[in-house]
């Protein structure tokens, strides 16, 4: 099969990369070049329940520099609160409390970290996420732009959450944020990545990757909010490698983008590691969402909790695949997952596919999944107290998501998720 020809001729993409990354260290340039060839040669990913061919992704130009842009007026207030803001993949704003720097914390845009902390980048980049997992991951791995680099030294606790905003303007054709988070032994941190974009006249392609390394005893609360415009098509891959007695809490909100393909994996590679994962998604209009959540238990006595709640409106379509994988030798593992989908329309579709892949005997694994419409009796009950049908539905949706959203440990993120839900209900 001939390699997929993107709208930009392949030679032009190579030329773009050579120019764009010419100042980077040689090891990184070599790495980018190698993965660029992987990207150029790779076919479109094949997903069982998502047809990518029909989406004409090859018409979105790759490797063209967008015009300069800034956050729109209604987002300007982010400059006061965000630690890192990228616009069209380039850093616009960085704010690091001096107390953190004094403690040895490194918080930088990735492209800067390459020069400031080259050893750490070289040591960890590409070790958690498989750079060649598919065409769009290879695209990110080859041409990645600014995301956040965070290193927290051993036994340091960050006293408030780090917030990162990635923004894409209306004329951008691709945004490729790459983030790397390393928490040393017993370090504690909270980080939230938010993805926003303006609707454009043409489609934009987002390929996003975040890698997380938790050393022994480290705890990370990682939150992400995807609220991209309907003209965005997004591919997201996140991975966490979890050390001995380390603990990750994923809180992921998926609301935007016309196509959203996202996967996050907890690799429980040392005893006592724990992963708590919560995904909230809300589909409307003709959105297509395809999520994979993986808990991979390699070491004994590791624990995973996976929860997903989805609400589907209009003609939206979702697939949620939960994978609890227990490898031979992962004795005493406890892996559980629970997925629930609320259908607000007859023309929406949702597939929930929980799977347990178990190679060991002495383990506990469980899953529960359900999808169903709003209970008509509940709506009648609420309306009998004077709520309009719309208010009643809003209340039921609210209630459906409350147990999960209210458990999100970070205030800012919890409020953001609720706001996003309200907007989706009202849409």
């Amino acid at each position: 099969m001939a390699p997929m020809a993107n709208a930009t001729p392949t030679d032009q993409v190579r030329k773009f990369a050579a120019e764009q990354f010419g100042d980077e260290p040689i090891w990184l340039r070599n790495r980018r070049n190698r993965l660029l060839e992987v990207y150029l040669a790779a076919p479109l990913p094949v997903r069982q329940r998502t047809s990518l061919k029909s989406r004409k992704l090859d018409r979105i130009p790759i490797g063209s520099a967008p015009t300069a842009a800034d956050l729109p007026d209604d987002l300007q207030n982010l400059y006061q609160v965000a630690n890192l803001i990228t616009v069209n993949g380039h850093t616009k704003h960085l704010s690091v409390p001096t107390t953190w720097s004094d403690q040895g914390v490194i918080l930088l845009p990735m492209t800067q970290a390459v020069n400031t902390a080259p050893q750490l980048i070289e040591e960890y980049l590409g070790t958690v996420v498989n750079d060649e997992a598919d065409k769009f991951q290879a695209l990110n791995s080859a041409l990645w732009q600014d995301g956040i680099f965070l290193y927290v030294p051993a036994r340091v606790t960050l006293d408030h959450p780090i917030t990162v905003t990635h923004f894409g303007s209306s004329d951008v054709s691709n945004v490729l944020p790459r983030s790397l988070v390393v928490l040393d032994e017993e370090a504690r941190a909270t980080i939230i990545e938010q993805y926003l974009s303006e609707p454009g006249r043409e489609k934009s392609l987002w390929a996003i990757a975040t890698e997380i390394v938790l050393k022994d005893g480290a705890h990370l609360q990682y939150g992400a909010m995807q609220q991209l415009a309907v003209t965005a098509e997004s591919f997201v891959r996140r991975g966490a490698q979890i050390g001995r007695d380390a603990h990750i809490y994923w809180s992921l909100g998926e609301f935007g983008s016309s196509l959203s393909i996202a996967e996050h994996t907890s690799l429980l590679s040392a005893p006592g590691g724990q992963s708590d994962s919560t995904t909230v998604f809300f589909g409307s209009e003709t959105q297509h969402q395809d999520y994979v959540s993986v808990a991979k238990h390699v070491a004994p006595h590791t624990t995973s909790r996976m929860v997903a709640r989805g609400v589907m409106k209009d003609d939206s379509r979702s697939v949620f695949t939960g994978v609890t994988e227990i490898k031979k030798g992962a004795l005493g593992t406890d892996g559980r997952q629970k997925e629930k989908i609320l259908m607000l329309s007859d023309t929406a579709r949702a597939d929930v596919i929980p799977s347990l892949l178990i190679e060991e005997n002495d383990v506990f694994a469980a899953h529960a999944a359900s999808a169903g419409p709003v209970d008509a009796a509940s709506i009648f009950y609420l309306m009998s107290r004077g709520l309009s049908e719309a208010e009643a539905i809003r209340m039921v949706v609210h209630g459906f998501l409350a147990t999960v959203i209210d458990a999100i440990p970070v205030d800012v993120l919890r409020h953001n998720v609720w706001n996003a839900v309200e907007r989706k209900i009202a849409e």
């Binding site: 209970d375 008509a376 009796a377 509940s378 009648f380 009950y381 609420l382 309306m383 009998s384 107290r385 004077g386 709520l387 309009s388 049908e389 208010e391 009643a392 209340m395 039921v396 609210h398 209630g399 459906f400 998501l401 409350a402 147990t403």
Partner: protein, 256 residues
């Protein structure tokens, strides 16, 4: 506000084409407590649900008027805003929505139609606490998800709590006494009585005479096979309790 009047005139109701209520006529005014008694499967709950506009029931003929307004032309929420209330036999459990949050939303929905400002949190809290104390409920109740994991008795008390908070004009109470012990029945009766006055009337649907001893209805109706077959004062309920529904069937059903 004027004394409310609920008039049901020759009402016929069917479920999936099967007639359930077959010509029922009844009128409840402010200041009155009416009781409808009848055996299982006679259409009592169907009547209650029809009055509130449950989509499962089809009115094939007849009229329901509240203060002369056509209730049957209204959506369920409009009926509530017009002042109709139904304490349900099996209230729904709404996960993730606290009783307090729900009640406040409901009160504000009603206020919005009356062009009133939303209730302040303080006023709401005060009224809620007062109503809960009155109904001898644990104040923690308000923070629990609506009916979720409530016992049968707690659900019934919660229905009465809602009634007290929403101040309807005409309340229909569907088997509010089923599954309640005598103390709880007294509390429910107390709740109803606290509202009864020229601006509030109640239609109490029950299987047993027990609650009527406390509710002291002005009128007791006996319903069989989708019709009111006999109406009288509260001594009718006592007579029914001793003689049973077979007596009613033999004595009255043939008359129609």
């Amino acid at each position: 506000m004027a004394t409310p009047v609920l008039e049901i005139k020759d009402l016929h109701v069917a479920i999936d084409g099967t007639p359930i209520i077959k010509g029922l006529t009844l009128s409840v005014k402010g200041g009155e407590v009416h009781a409808i008694m009848g055996p299982n499967g006679t259409g009592k709950t169907s009547l209650a649900q029809t009055l509130m506009g449950h989509p499962h029931y089809t009115v094939t003929s007849g009229q329901v008027l509240l203060d002369g307004q056509d209730v049957l032309a209204m959506r369920t929420d409009q009926r509530a805003r017009a002042g109709l209330f139904l304490a349900m036999q099996y209230p729904s459990e709404i996960s993730g929505v606290t009783t307090a949050n729900f009640l406040r939303t409901a009160i504000n929905s009603l206020r919005a139609t009356q062009d009133k400002k939303p209730i302040t949190l303080k006023e709401f809290r005060d009224r809620l606490d007062e109503a809960m104390r009155y109904l001898e409920m644990d104040l923690q109740f308000a923070n629990r998800y609506l009916n979720e994991g409530f016992s049968g008795g707690e659900k019934k008390r919660n229905e009465i709590l809602q009634m007290l908070m929403l101040h309807p004009r005409i309340a229909v109470l569907d088997e509010i006494d089923s599954g309640l012990d005598i103390d709880a029945i007294k509390v429910v009766a107390k709740g109803v009585h606290s509202l009864v006055g020229t601006e509030f009337g109640a239609l109490v649907i029950t299987h047993y005479q027990r609650i009527l001893a406390y509710l002291k209805p002005d009128v007791v109706h006996i319903m069989i096979d989708g019709r009111i077959v006999k109406s009288g004062d509260k001594s009718l309920a006592e007579e029914l309790e001793t003689k049973g529904y077979d007596w009613v069937r033999q004595e009255f059903v043939h008359e129609i």
